[in-house]
Symmetry: C2
Subunit: 205 residues, 2 copies
C-alpha cells in the first residue's frame, strides 16, 4: 500500500536504484544494504531508506534488502513490470543509436516503430526497423495503443511532432530535440539534452 | 555578486532557461517576462523569478527581462561564456551521434577528440574526428588540459574509463553508459539514460 502523494524528486531516484539493483542482480548478488546501494548510486544511505520506506517496509533491520524482492517492488511501483511499446520519431543519428540500443528490453520498453518525414529515409532500415512516413504516425499510435514516444527530430520540427503525438494519444514523451515543447497537463515530458547536462556541471568547475 | 550556496536544483534549471532564451533570441525577440519564459519551459513564473533573483536583480518590474542581458548573465553564472573542450570516449552509435551533434558549439562546448579501445575503430573517421586509441587518452587530456569528458562505452567498461579520466584530470563526466560510476567528491557526474527517463514517466501513466 502506498499513497499517491510521493514527490517527483523521489520518483526520479527510483529508476536509479532500480538500475543499480538490476546490475547487482546480474552479478548474482541477492541482498544489499542501503549503505552498499548508496555507494553504487552516490546517494546517502539515509536518503535511500527514506525514499524506499515511502512505499512500504521492504527491508529488515540487520539483514537489509532482498534484491529480487526490491526489484519486483520497484518495477511494480514504476509500472515497468510490463513492456511498454514506444514510437520513435526521427531517423537521424540519435534515432539510429536508440533504434539499436540494447538497454530498453530488460527495463520495460520496446521500440516498435520508427518514423521520419524525409522521403529519402522512409523505407530505409534503422536497426531492425523500416522507417515509416510521418503521415502514418497517428494511425499507428492509435491502432497499437502506444502511450510513449521519443522525439529525435531537429528542434524546429519538435513542437509539430509533439502536437501530432499528443493528438494521437501519446501520454509520455522523451524529447531529444534541444527545445522545450508545450503539451497538455496530462502528458509527461522528459528532456535529454547533453549541452544542458554539461552546463549543470561547468557551474561547479 | 552572488553567493556560493545556490541549491543544485536551481543550478539545474538555469540551463533550461538559457536554452529557451537562446531560442527566443534566435527568433529576434529582445525582451521577455517570467510568465512568457515560464510557458516556454513549463515552470511557474514565480519559480523563475525566485531562481533568477538568487543571482541579482536582472529584471525590471513592468518591463521584464532583457534577453541579451539575461543570456550574458546566465552564461557567466554557468561559466559557458567561454568554450570548454570535451573528450569523447566510445566510438559506437551514441559516440557517432554526439561527434556529429551540432548543438554544442553555441552552448559552450566543443568535442576535440574521440577515443576507443577497439582496434577496428581506431583510425576511423567519426564526424570530423579520427578515433584515437585509449592508450593516448591520458596524455591528450593532460596536454590539452581538458576538464570535461563524455563516456559512451558499454556499461562493463565505464568504471575503468572513468578511473582513467579522473586520474588524467577530468573534473566533469557526462555518462551515457547505463551504470553508476564512482568518482572522487571533486568530480561531477551527470547521467543520460533513456530507460531511466522513461521509467520516471511510466509511474504516472
Amino acid at each position: 500500500m502506498y499513497t499517491d502523494k510521493i514527490p517527483d524528486i523521489i520518483i526520479g531516484r527510483l529508476p536509479v536504484y532500480l538500475r543499480a539493483l538490476q546490475r547487482m542482480s546480474e552479478k548474482g548478488i541477492k541482498t544489499t544494504s542501503s549503505q552498499e546501494l548508496g555507494e553504487h548510486v552516490g546517494i546517502s544511505a539515509a536518503q535511500i531508506r527514506k525514499d524506499i520506506s515511502q512505499f512500504g517496509e521492504f527491508g529488515k533491520q540487520g539483514t537489509g534488502y532482498s534484491i529480487p524482492f526490491l526489484l519486483d517492488k520497484l518495477r511494480e511501483i514504476l509500472k515497468v513490470d510490463r513492456v511498454w511499446e514506444v514510437a520513435l520519431v526521427g531517423a537521424g543519428d540519435i534515432g539510429h543509436a536508440l533504434a539499436r540500443y540494447q538497454g530498453f528490453t530488460d527495463r520495460g520498453f520496446r521500440i516498435i516503430c520508427v518514423f521520419d518525414n524525409d522521403s529519402s529515409k522512409v523505407g530505409a532500415k534503422v536497426g531492425s526497423f523500416t522507417v515509416e512516413d510521418m503521415s502514418k504516425l497517428s494511425d499507428k499510435v492509435r491502432e497499437c495503443n502506444i502511450r510513449l514516444a521519443m522525439i529525435t527530430v531537429p528542434a524546429p520540427a519538435a513542437q509539430d511532432v509533439a502536437d501530432i503525438l499528443v493528438k494521437s494519444g501519446i501520454k509520455a514523451i522523451l524529447n531529444y530535440a534541444p527545445i522545450s515543447i508545450n503539451v497538455p497537463n496530462d502528458v509527461h515530458v522528459q528532456y535529454i539534452d547533453p549541452a544542458s547536462h554539461l552546463q549543470r556541471m561547468t557551474y561547479y568547475l
